[in-house]
């Protein structure tokens, strides 16, 4: 029941938002998001105490086809559920600060609708339920990114984004249909096949089938994450979308791809994975270097963060496909850390843009004198992104690099460049905006206010929590990642 509430409560709140206006709409949206977070924490406590059995929801959905509406929360799901429910209030608060949005109630409603889709993806335990929520999450983000964008190119950019992702998803659907037709009936069901995750895990397909099935299923994840060379939609979409939509995309939505690999790719087509592992590793490492090099050249803050995200995601993919326990665990921590970091970075960019009207770095400079608090928050988020020890980013990237190193020393060495590169471009960004010669804004800019401090405070707490006590989350995900590796090794 708790799981069903988690997934569907935001949708109900989104529908209710239709009847609220102005301040009431904000209060309702934020209240719902905070309640959702509290419930997620409650679910976490219940999970730690009594295990995942109490969080399982298995209802008949299409009985004649053996498709059940099966939601469940295990350690891996729980990490991402916590991340999503934690970030959505921050994203909503960011949206509140944009007074210029037309029809803001619809914006908040779509954010909450999106949350339903995301949580559905992270808790789905049936292939078609997973696919269903996977697509459901796309509809609100398309409108969020398109309808509230002020860019002239918004139509082309969001169109490209939509087409890329949906084409990837349809390949995944085709793969799932094939896998589904290979399954046997579930226990106690009259249907000939079953799309339950356990039925998929029990499949024993030939290596040649798995070889092409791998690409069908991986297509959706590759576009979503995105992995080089499927990334071309990403920088434009991140840059030109309204910042809350960018946060949803980069903070949570790209984790759908990595989560999908962990849950629905590695254990389902293990032979396909081992066949294509090296190619994916190479692509991931190209993505790391390529994203970083392009990030160095950027002058637009949001675009720089977008390319930096591309580079960091490459490392996560490399960690996952190293098929080492430590790499998988690193990917889990880094999913959380990256979610927090990237949302923090976009929050900084948004704070500066709202105050100065520009996020173009040559226009900025010398902002730090008037904004000590913003400078500190910026620096903390930045250092965590660079993976300085004590921060969440360090734990994640360290584990990931260790995993990649175990796979191949040279791969580890090249992937390690991500830390050096990100120090280069991020510190340069800091220097050009906060330090350096004064710009026209350095005297007039105002420092962070009340709500913003709370938002940054929450993010910073999590950054250090992940840096100092990563065990909280590692312990949750450890049984799941080791189960995945057992399935891969069969």
């Amino acid at each position: 029941m708790l799981t069903a509430f988690l997934v569907f409560f935001p949708l109900a709140a989104a529908l209710l938002l239709h009847f609220a206006k102005g301040g009431a709409a904000r209060a309702l949206a934020l209240g719902a998001a905070l309640l959702e977070f509290v419930v997620a924490v409650f679910a976490a406590i219940s999970f730690v105490r009594t295990g995942s059995a109490g969080l399982d929801l298995n209802l008949n959905w299409i009985p004649s086809a053996g498709i059940n509406f099966h939601l469940g929360i295990d350690g891996l799901s729980l990490c991402l559920v916590l991340l999503t429910t934690f970030l959505v209030p921050i994203i909503l608060l960011t949206a509140f600060r944009h007074e210029e949005y037309e029809n803001p109630g619809a914006f908040y409603a779509l954010v909450l609708f999106m949350q339903t889709g995301l949580l559905g993806v992270f808790t789905a335990m049936d292939a078609f339920v997973f696919y269903f929520f996977w697509e459901v999450a796309l509809i609100p983000i398309y409108f969020l990114a398109g309808a509230w964008s002020r860019s002239d190119r918004r139509i082309q950019i969001t169109f490209k984004f939509f087409l890329y992702t949906i084409i990837g998803s349809l390949f995944m659907l085709a793969g799932f249909v094939y896998l589904y037709l290979q399954t046997g009936p579930a226990a106690g069901s009259s249907a000939a096949h079953s799309s339950d995750i356990q039925a998929f895990y029990a499949l024993k397909l030939s290596a040649s089938e798995q070889s092409w099935l791998f690409w069908l299923v991986f297509a959706a994840f590759a576009v979503k994450m995105p992995i080089f060379p499927f990334h071309t939609w990403q920088p434009d979409t991140y840059t030109e979308s309204p910042t809350p939509a960018t946060m949803l995309l980069s903070g949570i939505m790209l984790k759908m791809g990595i989560y999908g690999c962990l849950r629905w790719l590695l254990p389902v087509v293990p032979l396909g994975v081992s066949q294509w592992q090296q190619l994916v590793m190479v692509l991931a490492i190209i993505g790391i270097v390529y994203g970083a090099i392009i990030a160095i050249r950027q002058r637009d803050m949001k675009r720089l963060i977008a390319y930096s995200s591309l580079s960091h995601v490459g490392l996560m993919i490399a960690g996952v496909f190293s098929l080492q326990a430590i790499g998988l665990q690193g990917a889990v921590v880094q999913m959380l850390a990256h979610g927090v970091n990237v949302v923090g970075m976009f929050l900084v960019a948004d704070a500066i843009e709202r105050r100065t009207g520009s996020r173009y770095m040559p226009d900025l400079g010398g902002l730090t004198r008037r904004t000590p608090l913003l400078s500190v928050c910026f620096l903390v988020m930045l250092l965590s992104t660079v993976a300085l020890p004590l921060t969440g980013g360090f734990v994640g990237e360290f584990l990931l690099l260790a995993g990649v190193y175990q796979f191949n020393m040279w791969a580890g060495a090249v992937a390690g460049l991500t830390i050096i590169f990100s120090a280069v471009y991020l510190l340069r960004m800091y220097q050009r905006t906060m330090l350096g010669p004064d710009s026209t804004y350095s005297e007039t800019i105002t420092d962070l206010g009340g709500t913003e401090l709370v938002m940054f405070g929450a993010l910073i707490v999590l950054v250090f929590w992940l840096g100092l006590f990563p065990g909280t989350f590692l312990r949750l995900s450890e049984p799941v990642t080791s189960q995945i590796l057992t399935l891969v090794g069969r």
Binding site: F133, E135, G146, R154, I155, F171, A174
Partner: protein, 474 residues
């Protein structure tokens, strides 16, 4: 059986009502009649062969059969008409003098449609198709001062008459080869041919029938009439044409293939597979280059014929199970979404006098309800989850894939990707483009039509979220 009788009687009655010159009474009357017939139709559910005693002579009862299959598809046809009719309000408001005739023709065409889904005798198939088609020829040209409407009627009539000739020729050859019109006897005669020298004639007959029906359901390469006819026909009747005619046509087609011609599948299976690939390709590619929303929907209806043909391919052996079920579900999803799309398009084109994408611009701001319903309809046609269209496609693809036609399914999936492209364009126009100068005023929609639109949206969503309901009827 009773629905046919009721529809015919009320259709004639309605013509007399027309003499009263009271347009306002007509729409409620027709709605009540349709609701009544819809209910009566459902009474036959699970009462296979329940025919009133006075009609139960072998002669008539062997011509039509009432079973769950016919009840289900009659249900779709009647429901579609019922949900579509509120959008004819503009005729009532404008004081259209021939409204009673239009409504009567609609009722008669429904008689034809129901005969097409319940025939058991090839002559009944022919009669049903003709009753449906002749009504539609007239309705296509109902906007008689508009050259495009006249063109549509003429094209539709010429092509339709041609197709009917081919179909009839096919039936005649089939009769020549098997000596019977009864579906089950045809099947038996094909399975054990009495005279081997007649087999070529039989195969030619089967091919001609496939071609004849292919014209009616606008399957490529016999689809050329579709875009022009759909565009010229008044939008209200286009909607009727692309839903009722298509649903009835496919139900009839499936019944023909599965009940009468299973033994001839060596002939029709490759033919239909080729038609299916061609239809998907031409329909989807054709739709991408359109700038008129109505023409895009015309091509999209061709492409949906392709998906339904895919369902026919899965239809080996019986009138129940995966194939019939998937065609039933798909037809319903397609009909509901098409009614919603054409309904919104009619409201917009009546008041903005244009049918292209630019005419839809800014609708998200001026008329959130219209924009929302049209978006939902297009997402459903595109097969995106949360709408019923997704499960429609899903069931068809699964049914076909389970028969081993993986290549066809992959091709259809690729074509649905193309579909997303053109279904998204009106959505972009509505939400992301500002209204054209001079078209900023909201479109006036009365409460009755709004309620219908909301109902259509609810049906699309509810069956998109809870497909289990209705997913194993047949």
């Amino acid at each position: 059986m009773l629905p046919i009788v009721l529809l015919s009687v009320f259709g004639i009655l309605n013509l007399f009502l027309g003499f009263l010159r009271s347009n306002r009474a007509l729409l409620p009357f027709i709605l009540v009649v349709l609701a009544l017939v819809f209910g009566v139709n459902l009474l036959d559910w699970n009462h296979a062969g329940s025919i009133p005693a006075f009609l139960d002579s072998p002669y008539i009862s062997q011509m039509l059969t009432v079973d769950n299959y016919s009840v289900a598809f009659s249900g779709i046809v009647l429901l579609t008409a019922l949900l579509l009719l509120p959008f004819s309000r503009s005729y009532v408001v404008a004081g259209e003098p021939n409204l009673a005739e239009y409504y009567s023709l609609l009722l008669f065409s429904l008689v034809g449609a129901i005969m097409m889904v319940s025939y058991n005798h090839l002559i009944m198939l022919f009669v049903g198709i003709e009753i449906l088609s002749i009504s539609m020829y007239v309705l296509a040209g109902s906007d008689k001062r508009n050259v495009r409407s006249n063109e549509a009627a003429l094209k539709y009539f010429l092509q339709g008459a041609f197709a009917t000739g081919i179909l009839l020729f096919g039936i005649a050859l089939l009769y020549g080869a098997t000596g019977t019109f009864q579906l089950s006897e045809v099947a038996a005669a094909i399975a054990t041919p009495a005279n081997q020298s007649l087999v070529p004639m039989l195969y030619v007959g089967v091919l001609l029938m496939v071609i004849g029906i292919g014209f009616k359901i606008s399957a490529a390469p016999f689809h050329f009439w579709t875009p022009d006819v759909y565009e010229g026909t008044p939008t209200f009747f286009t909607a009727f044409m692309s839903t009722v005619v298509k649903t009835a046509g496919f139900a009839a087609f499936l019944k023909l293939l599965v009940v009468a011609l299973p033994a001839a599948s060596t002939v029709w299976l490759p033919t239909i597979s080729a038609m299916c690939v061609l239809t998907l390709l031409l329909g989807n590619v054709g739709a991408t280059v359109q700038t008129s929303a109505k023409r895009m929907l015309a091509y999209s209806s061709v492409s949906h014929a392709g998906y339904l043909l895919l369902g026919l391919i899965a239809g080996h052996g019986q009138l129940s199970g995966a194939a019939a079920q998937s065609i039933f579900f798909y037809s319903l999803a397609y009909s509901i979404a098409t009614v919603a799309a054409f309904g919104v398009l009619k409201l917009v084109s009546d008041q903005r006098q244009r049918e292209d994408y630019a005419g839809l611009a800014g609708l998200g701001r001026t008329n959130p309800l219209l924009a929302f319903v049209l978006t939902l309809a297009l997402l459903s046609l595109g097969g995106i989850p949360l709408t019923r269209g997704f499960f429609g496609k899903f069931f068809i693809f699964t049914a076909v894939a389970s028969q081993g036609h993986i290549g066809l399914v992959v091709f259809a999936v690729l074509m649905s990707m193309v579909g997303i492209y053109y279904y998204l364009r009106p959505v972009i126009a509505m939400y992301l483009r500002p209204a054209e100068p001079g078209a900023e005023a909201p479109i006036v929609v009365d409460g009755f039509q709004s309620a219908t639109l909301v109902l259509l949206a609810i049906i699309t969503l509810v069956l998109g979220i809870l497909p289990g309901f209705l997913s194993n009827l047949l």
